[in-house]
């Protein structure tokens, strides 16, 4: 699914990733860990060409470059840290996300969304709430529930549990495992050791 060969990332004179290589197979749930500033988020973004890099990154055999990045991104779900959306209602966020890919049509999409929200510990009436009425952790889970409606094979998640308590984090892990079982490849950046322990493989960028 994802192959990284001899990749280096630097910002100006500061080098954050040096000659890094790895291979990620389809339907893996991978965790990228390491100290703050070690380049985890930059590497995650480089997978879809959002961070400049040297070396070679291939997604489903296609090298990431200026010409291919848009088509690679169409098959990717990317969730950055601290994402805030314009719009007043939670339903606005969901509508915006639904426009980002192929969605199960009609009533089935509504049912799938309610199911995803329930798996993530959220009531279905949360979609009618105002953005100002929900917490950061609820927002993270709503975005995950909506992203899962899209037909994307590769998920890149930057700190998906950063705003969650222990119980909610376990619900997210369970939800990600379901996605993995459905054939999705998930790469998550995290500082959360307990989350990392539950993933199928951990890549520590400090070593």
């Amino acid at each position: 699914m994802l192959s990284v060969k001899d990749v280096s990332i630097s910002f100006g004179k500061e080098s954050v990733i040096r000659h890094f290589s790895c291979h990620i197979s389809p339907a893996e749930l991978i965790c990228l860990t390491g100290k703050s500033g070690c380049g985890k988020s930059s590497l995650l973004r480089a997978f879809i060409g959002l961070t400049p890099f040297n070396g070679e990154i291939c997604v489903q055999g296609i090298p990431v470059n200026e010409r291919s990045c848009e088509s690679i991104r169409r098959n990717t779900a990317y969730l950055p840290q601290d994402l805030s959306f314009p719009g007043e209602l939670v339903s606005d966020i969901i509508s915006q996300i639904k426009r980002l890919g192929r969605v199960v049509a009609g009533e089935r999409a509504e049912q799938a969304l309610i199911k995803n929200l329930a798996l993530l510990g959220l009531e279905d009436d949360i979609v009618h709430k105002r953005m100002s009425e929900i917490s950061g952790g609820q927002r993270q889970r709503i975005i995950l529930a909506a992203i899962a409606l899209l037909d994307k094979d590769l998920w890149l998640l930057d700190e998906p549990t950063s705003a969650l308590d222990c119980a909610s984090r376990n619900l997210v892990l369970h939800f990600l495992r379901i996605q993995q079982q459905e054939g999705r490849t998930i790469v998550a950046v995290t500082h959360d050791k307990e989350f990392a322990e539950q993933c199928s493989r951990v890549i520590n960028l400090d070593t």
């Binding site: 840290q81 426009r99 890149l156």
Partner: protein, 261 residues
Amino acid sequence: MHTIDISYTSLAVGLFLLLIPAYYIWRYQTGLLRGICVGALRMIAQMLFIGVYLRYLFQWDNPWVNCLWVLVMVVIATETALSRTGIKRSVLMVPLIVGFIVSSLLVGMYFLGIVLQLDNVFSAQYFIPIFGILLGNMLSVNVIAVDSFYSNLLREQNLYYFLLGNGASRSESLQPFMRMAIAKAFSPAIANMAVMGLVALPGTMIGQILGGSSPNVAIKYQIMIVVITMSASMLSLIISIWLSQRKAFDGYGRIRQVAKG
């Protein structure tokens, strides 16, 4: 109707009214006292200068000189916009110039040639004031819109990268920022348009009535002035932001260093 002239002595007496805002600016220590003094002096000097050059422009009434004058106004408007936004000159200069010229020409010529049906669209009496009012409005709208577009984009770049990273094209990913920029730049104009004539009597209309036109003619001109300034401002904003994207993003859609400093 005859317009009463204001003598220079009367003008000086009238300027005493500026003491009211100046007093309160000083009284509440807003830090704007120097600004209002310099601003007032600049306004007086510039307006006296305009009086001189408009007299010659109207006397010569030469299409080439008039066009040259509009080009000078475009350069000044561009320089003013560049100094008021926090975006690099290399990103914005050409887009602003192209935006100002293309939109003022399209809308201005449509008004002068098709609506007014002038035999000579370059006639100084119409060409200079119409292009002046268009450029003045385009300048303020562009400054607000471009600044809002890039400052929101830099502040909320996670949203842009979220949309881009999930397969949206660059222009689709920029839509929320475009929406915010247009709303911020046009909300005051739209609000003013809705109450025009009820709450406020616009400057162009008052000027024409004081200059001897009938209220009927002044109203029709005022309606058209609102329409052409809004159209040209929107067109120039779209052109400027669209053209600036070539320098503001790389081939991957990543945001380059666009802010000054």
